[in-house]
Amino acid sequence: MLLKNLTQINGVSGNEEKVREFIKKEIENVADEIKVDKVGNLIAYKKGTASKFKLLLSAHMDEVGFIVTGHSEDGLIKFRPVGGIDQRVLPGKRVVVGDKGLKGVIGCKPIHLQEKDERDKNIKIKSMYIDIGCDKRDEAEKLAGLGEYIAFDSKFTELGSDCIKAKALDDRVGCAIIMELLKQRYEFDLYASFTVQEEIGLRGSEVVGYQINPDIAIVIEGTTCSDVPGIKEHEYSTELGKGPVITVMDRTAYADKDVVNFIYDTARKYKIDVQFKKTTTGGNDAGKIQRSRCGVKVASISVPCRYIHSPSSVMSRKDYEGCIKLMEAVLKELENNTDYTLKILNGGNCNV
């Protein structure tokens, strides 16, 4: 399965090469042109049959992880997170260190040796370390030097009849969906960007918007899902199994009203379950693309992921398939529903 292959590759922000190579190989036969830009974004182009306008679909290749920042006398590795990671999920988890793929574990003081006040507090990342079995500093330095990347070690697993668990669902799920959509040819020119370094501040997308200068951009993401015990229903950002998520606004972008309405109406027309993201926290590449050049109309469509940014994210296959269906419908309607498309393209200058 495509998603399984994608999530098993390690590609912490700044180290997306293996993900890029994989995607490139997979889409080589369906894209008209493929290029890798100066910061490492993979950009595919598929010429439209009528070439009326330019649509950009974007997903990021990178995942959260860690980077080696030091070594202790006794051969342990000090590290810092790359991207936003909840320190609470780290103690006692497995990781893969460096290009050589060395296995390691995140160590912590056992409960038996913790004082009462230590038991009541969370362990801070700066007091954690990774054990790859080295006994001395020079050995650890040689095997896992400063700046080597570290990724979660976590398998792709089926949960129940509908769910899957993996690391890096954010945003390999978006990559997978766009790879599916690239198989078709459309009337409009389709650009697909697989971006780098989203997790450390939307770095790749900032130059993608400029290079492509699209008329409309849709970002496909894995987004937070908080329908879990201890959270009140009104605090749910999204819910698992309730379909693809449409974002109205988040910390980085204000989705275009017309595009959002268009997507929602299309979902209703095609009887596809959708939900709106009910929090305005978080953000993604749409923020940078929206404000590139003279501005771009953007929207974000996401697949809900519980325990996002942890080694064990969980998503629903139904939501994933729903998202593909929704996007197929949206692309088809962009071709057919010319009135609406014109309104989106022309904004205030349109008389429709």
Partner: protein
Amino acid sequence: MKNMKTPDILKDLTCSIAVSGHEELLARRLKEIFMEFCEEVWIDKFYNVVGKMTASADENGYIDGRKMKVLVMAHMDEIGLMVKSIDEKGFIRITSVGGVDPKILPAHEVIIHGTRDIPGIIGAKPPHLLKPAEANKSIKIEDLAVDTGICAEELKKVVSIGDLITLDFEFTELKNGKFSAKTVDNRSGVTALIEIMKELTGIKHGADVYFVASTQEETHLTGAIISSYAIEPDVAIVIDACHGNMPDTSKEETYALGKGPAVGIGPVLDRKMSQTVINVAKDENIPYQIDVEPSDTGTEAWATQVSRAGIPTVLLSIPVRYMHTAVETVHVDDIKNTGRLAARFIARLTRNMEVI
């Protein structure tokens, strides 16, 4: 097993599930293994596995006209989690069996042992919804829930209250002879039992040796209490895990990995015999460390010392890092050296009865 390398034995044993009180499957596996070395093997009603290796030499091994009996014990059970309730959305609330640190649980993969095994993830409140005061406090087990992706109705057909949950893991080889897995505490000890059996097939010993892979140590030391009573040994050797050296821990409480077993010294343990173990280590060039235990050792030695009229007990501990997590880490040489040291001590014991 006879021809299996130590890491392979450890892998075989750590991959078995035996949460305290539910050791039956591992007990059966261990019975098979023990039978390769022991004349008699039995499982008692608490699922302690006992293997008897009869004395191979006739010298000096007698007490009151009968063969001397040495008990060598390592517990086979492991800590775990248990299903407390299932809510209307299918989330499973949990409690612990033995000492589990809730801090290692968020985002942990688990296996729920219902009528069939089901994978799950331990979830918690997402970080962006935590209030600042909550964010600094460690998570409580009652605030965690297992997510299986299965709805309540379907889940209840397979999972019931009281079902066990174990931490999923991968047996991982690290650098320099170190291995990481769940239940290294105390499958390392059980592996050492097998190493002792291997060693003893090659050396003469005047005592009958009773190997016990015991149960329910992590909860109430029950296996140790009843099996030491049943066997009534003259000497007991307890093998368990001690804390490996780690940052932010005191050097007095932790022991280096790869530097040999830690020989316990303290009031609960027999001073003369502990000294004999140290002498054997020196004579045989086996590396060892000293583990000073001012009172309760936190091991089954606490039970064996006062069984029946009392049993002189020695404690050999294998250094293990990150105890009670799914990445407990051990050095394979420490397991082997524990086996060598205990075997040579047993052989020495019956040649120098005055130490008892």
